[in-house]
């Protein structure tokens, strides 16, 4: 339920920012490029640079606080979990910082600094990916994305449209159910039991709700075939809808930034510009020029935000 509420809270809202001024497809590409770069990068130096890039981009887009709140509720728990799992499961590394004795089938439980560091780096990567995806949610108009997706895959777009609409509907249902429970004379079930009961009732009603939403989608002509040519007409229309917004300087700037971020990350990794090894001993080389190279990533990512001509705040 809280995840649903969080998802509803972080929904897209148009704001005066260069990222919001770009097309939804470009904004989404930009966010996904940051996520892709995080998946490519192995070095904590590059990952830290990408984290700065994502948070800087969120601030530039006016969703910095939103993203930090989301980071606290979703990305931080992922980071902590990945560290705990890696420390408990991985037997690599030579620097033991805690000997927990024999754990039966799990064997000797020796916690090492190396597994801790590796867990942190892995968690950092997941955190950057999560935040970059949340940036897409906050800054790319989902309606525009759906129209774009429909040109490629109508059925997937229909499913996406249903899902995106259903989340706020179910979040609203859960909110109302929780409020109604507070109106019970005994205050309703509280804690985990109460949340579970509300979640069960919400999920129980999800099928009915999805049918309602699907019925409305269909009545609005979604997926209509007009004399066998309706689909083609709709696709033709989608193109003209896109053409209505010609490519802006923001589109070009963010698209260029997206390509540059991925290319630079690949180059830095391929050239070994930011070497890092977690096992058997942690080894990382930090030199001024390596730091400067890593700093290029947030610089490239934030460059398009400097053009704020015509954007009133």
């Amino acid at each position: 339920m809280s995840a649903m509420s969080a998802a509803a809270r972080i929904a897209y809202r148009r704001r005066p920012s260069p990222l919001h001024a770009a097309r939804a497809t470009v904004a989404a590409t930009y966010g996904l490029a940051l996520a892709t770069a995080a998946l490519i990068a192995a070095s904590p130096l590059l990952l830290a640079a990408l984290l700065c890039a994502v948070l800087g981009a969120a601030t530039g887009a006016g969703v910095g606080r939103k993203l930090l709140r989301a980071a606290a509720t979703t990305a931080l728990p992922i980071l902590v979990l990945s560290v705990l799992v890696n420390v408990a499961v991985n037997r690599g590394g030579l620097t033991v910082f805690a000997r927990l004795g024999d754990w039966g089938v799990l064997g000797q439980m020796n916690l090492t600094v190396e597994s801790l560091v590796y867990g942190l780096v892995f968690g950092l990567r997941l955190m950057v990916v999560t935040l970059a995806c949340l940036l897409v949610v906050c800054a790319a108009d989902p309606d525009e994305l759906l129209f774009a997706c429909r040109r490629i895959s109508p059925h997937s777009a229909l499913t996406a449209a249903l899902t995106t609409r259903l989340i706020p509907v179910l979040a609203g249902d859960a909110r109302r159910l929780a409020e109604a429970q507070r109106c019970r004379p005994d205050g309703g079930a509280t804690g985990a039991r109460g949340r579970l009961a509300i979640l069960r009732a919400t999920v129980g009603g999800a099928l009915d709700r999805s049918l309602d939403v699907a019925a409305v989608l269909e009545m609005r002509g979604y997926g209509a075939r007009r004399g066998g040519g309706g689909g083609r007409r709709a696709r033709g229309r989608s193109r003209s809808h896109q053409q209505l917004r010609s490519r802006s300087r923001h589109d070009l700037a963010f698209a260029a930034a997206a390509v540059s971020i991925v290319a630079l990350t690949i180059c830095l990794e391929a050239l070994g510009a930011a070497p890092f090894h977690a096992y058997p001993l942690v080894s990382i080389t930090l030199t001024p020029w390596r730091l400067a190279l890593a700093a290029l990533l947030p610089a490239i990512a934030l460059l398009p935000f400097t053009d704020r001509r015509g954007i009133q705040t």
Partner: protein
């Protein structure tokens, strides 16, 4: 060619014991404005769904006969194809919007129809202006109130200017002002662009004057198909609960024919000499002045309507200077003062967003005031708008104690699933839940309890609430339904922009207004505080019984 035709249509939902539609045959011509009337469960919504192609495509079940929308047979064409010819608005506005912004929502249907961008932009602009939602165009749909959502969903159904519009209670979440505006906007659309309208509505007094035709349904079958006047004559004989308040007043006063609206009723009363002719400006009474009473009998009748109930000493709820402000938003409540006595029956009225629901939530302790104080003599039970929100269990008996179920007459349904109950039964179960517990509540608050209810269900609810008030429980309800308010309450509180702008006996508040007034009060111009049809009829009978020239009796200006 008819824009809609049903030919011997019978339909049964999957697993249902009986037909939801039975041998329904009807046609709707271009430019007709038709109201679909009937009690709850009579098959009105199913008929609309059949016209939209959702029955049988979406719901399955057994279907016989044929439905054609502008020549397209719904058995051969999908709801998406029918959607190009019939704009549909179903009951729950929350599931009626798909996109994240209002502008994208309005554009969706047009985009799906393959309209060029300029045509889409123009239609979105014009429709939003016509329905008064232009200021919402760039708002996120997730932030809209129920009333705003309903208007947006209606605009989305109308934006492609389909030849047929199917509407299932489009005014259910709107205040009286917005509801009236909407009906007349529909009428204008219907007259100017030949759009046929098929409208389901429980508050017939709101739309009958605009309609060309009324179809009444009972147990899935069409039982009456006439013009509004003919329908009211039929209803007087066969289904009195479908009569409008004006028609009931006329019937009780022995006046014929039944009026279809306020204008017609007033004209008839003028012909009978029971209402004055419009006064010249210099003769017109000052605004707010009550008409003078003539004759002892009339005076006695009127005194009964406006008599205040004796106020007991104990207060069930005392609110002082209550403010509710939201972050980065306007104040919802601005210094509200309210005192409700034990056993008092109070209605909160006002436009959408006036602060009624917020005030009830404060009373129940669901919200904390920004400023001000609130004290109650005991527990405050709150029944929210959707009774289904209270149900979390698999059977009725798990939801409420046996004694509480017995009090609301649901003992026999104890083993049923709560979601299998009818609308009225659900509300009774929700009432049993909030009224239950060891501590008897000092005050019962209800938020829009009559939405989607037919008159019989409303009367049953009023009786139940009157019984609770008789036991000393104060009852406060927020409603847009002036007729129900007049049936039930002794006091009305009018809210606007979070402030109390009027507070007094119901006869004073609801008789003097235009929007926040019953049909009886509007017909009689608020004369002597008559709000209900029986009160109006009593006044009319008393006036007619007077000897001598009867002109202007209600206005008290004999022989003008």
């Amino acid at each position: 060619m008819s824009v809609l035709s049903f030919e011997r249509v019978s339909y049964r939902y999957p697993g249902a014991g009986g037909d939801a539609l039975h041998e329904v045959s009807l046609t709707l011509e271009p430019g007709e404005f038709c109201v679909l009337a009937g009690l709850s469960g009579s098959g009105k919504s199913t008929l609309l769904r059949a016209a939209a192609g959702l029955v049988p495509h979406f719901h399955g079940g057994r279907f016989s006969g044929s439905v054609a929308v502008a020549g397209l047979d719904t058995r051969e064409h999908s709801p998406a194809e029918i959607g190009a010819l019939a704009g549909t608005l179903l009951q729950d506005p929350e599931t009626q919007v798909i996109m994240t912004t209002v502008r994208a929502e309005l554009a969706l249907a047009l985009e799906n129809l393959g309209n060029p961008p300029t045509a889409v932009a123009r239609a979105v602009e014009e429709t939003s202006l016509a329905l008064g939602i232009a200021h919402l165009l760039d708002r996120a749909t997730g932030e809209l109130s129920g009333g705003e959502l309903q208007r947006v969903a209606l605009a989305a159904a109308l934006v492609s200017r389909p030849p047929l519009v199917l509407l299932d209670e489009p005014t259910s979440q709107l205040d009286p002002v917005a509801g009236d505006e909407l009906i007349w906007q529909l009428r204008r659309l219907n007259q100017e662009s030949d759009t046929a309208v098929l409208l389901v509505e429980h508050r017939l007094e709101r739309c009958l004057a605009a309609a060309d035709r009324v179809i009444a349904m009972h147990a899935g079958a069409v039982v009456c198909d006439r013009d509004p006047g003919g329908f009211l004559e039929w209803a007087a004989l066969h289904e009195p609960s479908l009569q409008t308040p004006g028609a009931r007043m006329f019937a009780r006063a022995g006046l014929l024919p039944p009026p279809t609206g306020v204008k017609q009723a007033r004209a008839a009363l003028r012909r009978e000499g029971l209402l004055p002719l419009p006064a010249a400006p210099e003769d017109a009474p000052a605004a707010g002045a009550q008409p003078a009473l003539v004759g002892r009998r009339l005076r006695r009748v009127a005194e009964r309507f406006s008599s205040r109930a004796e106020r007991p000493a104990e207060a069930a709820l005392v609110i002082r200077g209550l403010w509710h402000e939201i972050r980065d938003g306007p104040a919802i409540l601005r210094g509200v003062d309210l005192r409700v006595e034990a056993g008092e029956r109070v209605v909160l009225m006002g436009r959408n967003g006036a602060g009624k629901s917020t005030l009830l939530r404060h009373a129940a302790g669901l919200l904390a005031p920004t400023r001000g104080s609130l004290a109650s003599a005991g527990r405050v039970a709150l029944l929210l708008q959707n009774p289904g929100d209270y149900f979390l269990h698999e059977t009725v008996e798990e939801e409420a104690a046996a004694a509480d179920l017995e009090q609301v007459g649901l003992s026999e349904l104890a083993l049923r699933h709560p979601r299998d109950l009818s609308g009225g039964q659900r509300q009774r179960l929700a009432l049993a839940i909030v009224m239950g517990g060891v501590e008897r509540p000092a005050l019962l608050a209800l938020d829009e309890p009559t939405r989607g209810m037919d008159r019989e269900s409303k009367q049953a609810l009023a009786q139940r609430l009157l019984a609770l008030a008789g036991e000393g429980i104060a009852v406060v309800l927020a409603t847009h339904d002036a007729e129900f308010a007049a049936e039930f309450a002794t006091r009305a509180v009018l809210l606007a922009e979070g402030r109390v702008i009027a507070d007094g006996p119901i006869a004073e508040i609801l008789a003097g207004g235009w929007y926040f007034a019953t049909e009886t009060a509007r017909i009689l111009d608020g004369a002597h505080g008559a709000l209900r049809p029986d009160q109006g009829a009593e006044l009319l009978l008393a006036a007619r019984a007077r000897s001598g020239p009867a002109e202007c009796l209600l206005a008290g200006e004999v022989g003008r």
